[in-house]
């Protein structure tokens, strides 16, 4: 008696799992000089995982539900899986040169990264609490190890330990909240919880459960006041890993938050709306003010990513005060922001990797005059940083526009207040993003800069490809926003909009 399994729906996950196992075996039996094959197999595996996604997207079957509705492949899952595959592919491209230059544990690096990507793919499809929790853990656990990958470096050890301890605390909070939900509703699937919990939104235990779940995911998306691990971890971890943490890992947290809040607790939006309102306002304001004082480029990006998480949370708060149509709009606004943010932040981190190699430092001061000896890199840095700031016509502008649209569409005084806070923060953010660009283009080359040949050495091919692909998306999506909104509109199915 075999359960009814739709293998095409599982094909992306199976491809990634097989690739990860093959990479680990290859690493064991390859001689040291040929370890680069692990990178090639990993990149190929992620590319092949995209093929069944396309097949699923064009098929006419519609939503594919399996295992009693625990694992669903609908348009929402497909769009987010596509994002995770592309982001994983870009991070792999950034990693290739970086990992080779550190010489050891190559196979393990790619194995762990593939496992984390696999976790985020399962996460996008999970529609019950247990599958969701396992997927979230599969995303995070490999990252605890990868953050400490440079094991000779004390800061890398610190990064790993801080991330691990706070991550485990977040998992404990999450499980505690989930156990309350199960106790109160007797259901594990989100559809069941939504049906059983319909009249329970006012019960104190139910409110507490929702708050615990939000706190647990608050750590994963690094929203203030759960953000303390982010700057230290990003700084100490290998930079490609920091890029993955700030994009895929954060997006995974948001996907979990979207699925749980919108599909399991649609009637309790009056409970989670105000909580998310506070998280959004705090994240934007505190992170932006702290970012103003950063001198290290990676720490600056860390605080910037906390602030961006605040912007992504704004539509959640809007969903609490709106009708069903507005709920769908708010949902799509968050997805749009996540997709655009992924490309511009990955691009910014890729530029940082290339720039750190050329300038030999992560201090912003040391980057003076980068535009004079590496004009292409300087120009692309300007593209990504201005996009993060939300300057038209770059894609970051569309993300902010959609976010403000969702906030103003709700129309309540609270949401207008939050929109004003977001607008003030967008201006503050422009100050520190523009300062980096100003240093690159207007400041003189510092005396501590490395010699001519280091500064003008060409960027590794795979890293250049990652930068180029991200830049192409950021520029083109700025002129043709429908490229992104077409996909994010398709995800509304989950919010019933």
């Amino acid at each position: 008696m075999a359960p009814d399994i739709d293998y095409l729906a599982l094909a992306p996950e199976i491809t990634l799992a097989v690739t990860a196992v093959v990479v680990l075996l290859l690493d064991l039996f390859l001689p040291r000089r040929q370890k680069y094959w692990t990178a090639i197999v990993a990149v190929l595996g992620v590319s092949f995982a995209a093929l069944p996604l396309i097949a699923l997207a064009v098929s006419d079957v519609g939503d594919r539900a399996m295992l009693g509705g625990s694992f669903v492949v609908d348009d929402f899952a497909l769009v987010l899986k596509g994002l995770f595959v592309i982001a994983g592919y870009l991070v792999l491209l950034m990693s290739v040169g970086y990992v080779e230059s550190d010489r050891y544990y190559q196979g393990e690096y790619y194995f762990l990264l593939l496992m984390s990507i696999l976790g985020s793919m399962v996460l996008a499809s999970s529609r019950d609490l247990i599958t969701l929790f396992i997927a979230v853990e599969l995303v995070s656990q490999p990252m605890y190890l990868l953050a400490g990958w440079r094991k000779g470096d004390l800061r890398s050890n610190e990064a790993s330990l801080k991330y691990f301890l706070l991550g485990v605390l977040a998992s404990a909070l999450l499980l505690y909240g989930m156990s309350f939900v199960y106790g109160l509703t007797g259901e594990l699937t989100f559809a069941g919880i939504a049906a059983e919990g319909a009249g329970k939104a006012g019960e104190p235990a139910f409110i507490m459960a929702i708050l615990f779940i939000i706190a647990g995911f608050g750590f994963k998306v690094s929203a203030v006041p759960f953000h303390f691990w982010a700057p230290d971890t990003y700084e100490g971890a290998p930079t490609p890993v920091a890029a993955y943490l700030s994009v895929s890992s954060k997006a995974a947290g948001f996907v979990a938050l979207l699925v749980v809040l919108y599909s399991a607790f649609p009637d309790a939006s009056g409970v989670w709306g105000p909580a998310v309102w506070i998280l959004a306002a705090l994240s934007m304001t505190l992170a932006n003010l702290t970012a103003l004082r950063q001198t290290n480029i990676v720490r600056l990006l860390a605080y910037s990513s906390v602030a961006q998480a605040g912007f992504m949370l704004v539509p959640f708060a809007a969903a609490a005060t709106t009708d069903a149509v507005g709920l769908g709009e708010a949902f799509a606004a968050t997805v749009t922001y996540i997709v655009i943010y992924a490309f511009m932040n990955l691009g910014a981190f890729a530029v940082v990797i290339a720039g750190a190699r050329k300038t030999g430092t992560g201090d912003i001061e040391g980057w003076g005059g980068l535009g004079s000896y590496a004009p292409a890199l300087g120009a692309l840095a300007a593209v990504f940083f201005f996009s993060l700031a939300g300057i038209p016509p770059l894609a970051g502008w569309i993300a902010k526009l959609v976010m403000f649209g969702a906030a103003m569409g709700a129309g309540s005084p609270w949401m207008i207040a939050l929109a004003v806070i977001a607008a003030i923060n967008a201006v503050i953010a422009l100050v520190y993003y523009a300062r980096v660009v100003k240093t690159i283009w207007m400041d003189p080359v510092p005396a501590t800069a490395p010699e001519e040949e280091v500064r003008t050495a060409s960027v590794a091919g795979s890293l250049g490809l990652a930068i180029g692909l991200s830049a192409a998306v950021v520029v083109v999506a700025g002129f043709f926003p429908s490229l992104v909104t077409f996909f994010s509109d398709a995800t509304k199915v989950l919010a019933g909009g």
Binding site: A2, V21, L25, L28, R32, R103, Y104
Partner: protein, 138 residues
């Protein structure tokens, strides 16, 4: 939810508390007490303890403990499959086969990395575990 379902658990809890409390309390009340220095020393398999208990010990023990836990959990999954062996048929056999192969791969990985070699020289272990290509690069 019916709270009456929890009655056996409540009775069990009560029994545990009474039994444990009575054992310790009666032992303290009735037992003779004639302490000697030997009796007060920590018990270590009958020999005289020589060192403080909290010491650094090789990380290898941790690895062995981890492996034990992994295989222990594998057995739990195998039990669930074994009691429904006939009903699950070839599908179940294939699923368990894949699962076991993955666990064995873990063992192979640990073995090849040298984590199971208990007595290899320090230098060789360093090279195995770090896989550093310093000499080759030079």
């Amino acid at each position: 939810m019916n709270l009456a379902d929890y009655l056996p658990i409540a009775i069990m809890l009560l029994l545990v508390i009474v039994f444990a409390g009575a054992s310790i309390g009666l032992g303290n009340l009735l037992g003779p007490r004639r302490p000697t220095p030997e009796k007060l020393a920590p018990y270590e398999c009958g020999i005289v303890p020589e060192l403080e208990p909290s010491q650094r010990f090789p990380v290898k023990f941790y690895l062995v403990a981890m492996l034990f836990v992994i295989f222990d959990i594998e057995i739990i999954f195998l039990f669930a499959w074994a009691v429904r062996f006939r009903e699950l048929g070839w599908f179940g056999l294939a699923a368990v086969g894949i699962f076991t192969a993955l666990v064995i791969e873990t063992l192979g990985y640990v073995w090849k990395r040298g984590a199971l070699d208990w007595n290899i020289p320090r230098r060789a272990r360093y090279r195995l575990s770090h896989d550093v290509a310093d000499e080759e690069a030079a």
